[in-house]
């Protein structure tokens, strides 16, 4: 035995096993994950992490009875018979063996923060007879948390004949479910929060049935996925809640975009959609300016110039203003070259392209939007590469001129906060809830922080730069551009432990054990509420979105707020499920 390769917890368990056999493992069973301590035909085994060289071929470990999971990275997971632990430690390919420990009670912390256990204890509800639809990156179908409860998976990314809602992708059920893999891990984590059946990290509605759409993230296909979930649930004669832990910023931010329109159309009694508010709370993605008649306003943009060997990158800005106004739009390059002011173009193509020394600029200024009557424009900039060793002075700027002004308010968003942000006085921490969170018919969820410190599987302490027991600073602010109140309420979204997809990459510091990982975001807060909605629907399958919203908001509160109050960051506040 090479004891120096064993983590302390595993070394202690191995020593106890050597001295007293299975009986010696009993004190360790509560701490070590999945150690077979009870008498059984199979030998006592432990779930472990193996530290090896990245890409190492470990097939020979099967001779020791080691069952390895997938992956080629420097940390693998697997199950090892304890009686072969010594031989495994002697193997030169294995640098370190770390026991999988039981999870810290982070999700329990989260559920307790909003009194889910009290609600479930009082009502006896666990989501039975309700469908939870997960439209996301897929699901780890082999995870014990979902055993026997995944009814269907529509994998939109596989080639096939699709379903009635969209003739693409493949619908899977039964033994074929495993053909779909969650290689991102996001959907599995989300599903675990809403409906995971787990001894330690139990989800909110662990008896709910799951219908999963692995989406390619195109908004139209997400719309198809929502319709699919409701049709499948309808065939089961069960109510359903669809979880959308995703979003974007290239819409009108008034709930009139296409995906929001579909949501408004399909929700109703027993058909609820929950959406994430978004994570742009710390990003300068929105600016509001008041444009005077005949005057101009300028909005600077911070755009990273690509290196010469980088592929072309297009950054987009979208602007919206009332239909009664008419604005002209220009772009100023870092070299102070300005495109002509482009008015609204109603005859022929509204697109004009300008090739400048600093890059390519495309401006699109059509007539009023047919669905909300407002004017929109799109500015796309493809910065020219900057030679290595030099850097570009100055910044890109959007410039608008008021041709005909009655209202004068103009809102501009950077579509991708990673590629570009807005700067200057006009930047506003508001109206960052985009589609589908802006949908009138959706329940839109902000994130509250219930845990900021944890120990990873290796016993290393970590801290997140968030304020404990407060609204998460990354959570996107409302209201909508038309003043509509979004988000609706807040739920625990950081830091949350939930199910891990074995097919997904993961940062070691976020690993809790071989089955669970930490994540944060309004993505994590949303399935919390989806699970709560499933519990509500179990009690009354006819509840519609307005009734659900009313009951959730009336049981939510934020510091300094009172009944009926709403805050752009908190919505109606953190849910308290105790008396739902």
């Amino acid at each position: 035995m090479r004891h120096e390769k064993l983590s302390p917890a595993l070394a202690a368990a191995a020593d106890a096993f050597a001295r007293a056999g299975r009986a010696g493992l009993a004190p360790h069973g509560d701490r070590l994950g999945l150690v077979s301590v009870s008498p059984a035909a199979r030998p006592a085994r432990a779930v472990v992490f193996l530290h090896v060289e990245a890409g190492a071929d470990l097939e020979h470990l099967a001779d020791l009875g080691v069952q390895l999971n997938g992956g080629e990275g420097p940390v693998r997971t697997g199950i090892v018979p304890l009686e072969r632990l010594g031989a495994l430690s002697e193997d030169p390919a294995v640098h370190r063996i770390v026991a999988s420990t039981r999870l810290r009670l982070l999700l329990d912390v989260a559920t307790a923060a909003v009194h889910v256990p009290a609600f479930r204890s009082r009502t006896g509800r666990r989501g039975k007879g309700v469908v939870i639809g997960i439209v996301d990156s897929g699901i780890e179908v082999g995870h014990d948390s979902f055993a026997g409860r995944i009814h269907r998976v529509w994998d939109q990314t596989l080639n096939g004949q699709g379903v009635p809602e969209g003739r693409y992708g493949v619908e899977l059920k039964g033994s074929s479910l495993s053909l779909s893999r969650d290689t991102n891990g996001h959907g599995t984590h989300v599903a675990g929060i809403a409906a995971g059946a787990d001894d330690t990290y139990e989800g909110v509605a662990p008896d709910a049935r799951l219908v999963v759409v692995k989406t390619d993230l195109l908004s139209a296909h997400i719309a198809d996925g929502i319709r699919y979930v409701f049709r499948v649930a309808g065939a089961l004669r069960q109510p359903a809640v669809v979880n959308l832990s995703l979003g974007g910023q290239d819409d009108s931010h008034d709930g009139k975009d296409s995906l929001s329109a579909v949501i408004d159309e399909v929700v109703g009694p027993g058909r609820i959609v929950c959406c994430a508010a978004g994570n742009e709370g710390n990003d300068n993605i929105h600016a509001r300016v008041k444009v005077p008649r005949g005057g101009t306003r300028t909005i600077p943009c911070a755009i990273a110039a690509p290196a010469t060997d980088s592929p072309p990158q297009v950054v987009s800005f979208t602007g919206w203003y009332p239909g009664v106004d008419r604005l002209s739009v220009a772009v100023v390059s870092p070299s102070e070259v300005q495109t002509p002011f482009q008015p609204i173009i109603t005859k022929g193509s509204p697109v004009r392209t300008h090739s400048l020394a600093d890059g390519l600029v495309r401006i699109t200024t059509p007539g009023p939007d047919p669905t909300n009557g407002d004017h929109a424009f799109l500015v796309q900039i493809e910065p020219a590469p900057v030679p290595e060793g030099s850097h570009r002075r100055g910044s890109w700027r959007l410039r608008v001129k008021g041709t005909k002004v009655t209202d004068g308010n103009l809102d501009v968003w950077s579509v991708d906060p990673v590629a570009a942000q807005l700067t200057g006085k006009a930047v506003s921490d508001s109206m960052k809830v985009g589609s589908p969170g802006a949908a009138t018919g959706a329940i839109t969820v902000a994130s509250f922080t219930t845990r900021t410190a944890w120990e990873d599987i290796f016993g290393q302490p970590h801290e997140a730069g968030l304020e404990l027991d407060d609204i998460s600073d990354f959570s996107s602010e409302g209201p909508r551009r038309d003043g509509g109140q979004k988000p609706d309420l807040a739920a625990p979204g950081a830091m949350i432990a939930s199910a891990l997809s074995v097919h997904s990459p993961v940062l070691p510091e976020l690993l809790m054990d071989s089955l669970h990982v930490l994540m944060a975001g309004t993505s994590m807060a949303t399935p919390f509420i989806s699970g709560i909605v499933a519990l509500l629907l179990e009690g009354d399958r006819t509840l519609g979105p307005e009734q659900v919203r009313a009951v959730l908001r009336s049981h939510s509160a934020f510091p300094g707020g009172g009944p009926g109050r709403w805050d752009p960051k908190w919505g109606a506040g953190l849910l308290d499920a105790r008396d739902l």
Binding site: P164, H186, L217, A220, A223, S245, S349, L378, T526
Partner: protein, 81 residues
């Protein structure tokens, strides 16, 4: 092309399009009271989805039952960075 029915993103994508083989995933907003739904449009409801060519976008833009055409966009998972 009736450009007044196209959103800026679809107009820009068509302007940039490389050839007739390029396809666009779009939302099609229909006039709710118009029973004459274009053949390329399947499904139910006032807002449909379809994958269409540039020629089909032009045809749809001239269809009286079509109120608006919008390009589908790629959303992101809302996991905090």
């Amino acid at each position: 092309m009736d450009w007044s029915k196209l959103d800026p993103a679809l107009a820009a994508a068509l302007d940039e399009a490389g050839g007739p083989e390029r396809h666009f995933v779009v939302f099609i907003h229909l006039h709710p009271d118009d029973p004459a739904v274009p053949g390329v449009v399947a499904g139910d409801g006032a807002v449909r989805t379809a994958t269409v060519t540039a020629d089909e976008v032009e045809s749809l833009s001239h269809d009286t039952s079509v109120r608006a055409l919008r390009l589908a966009t790629r959303l992101r998972a809302t996991e905090a960075p």
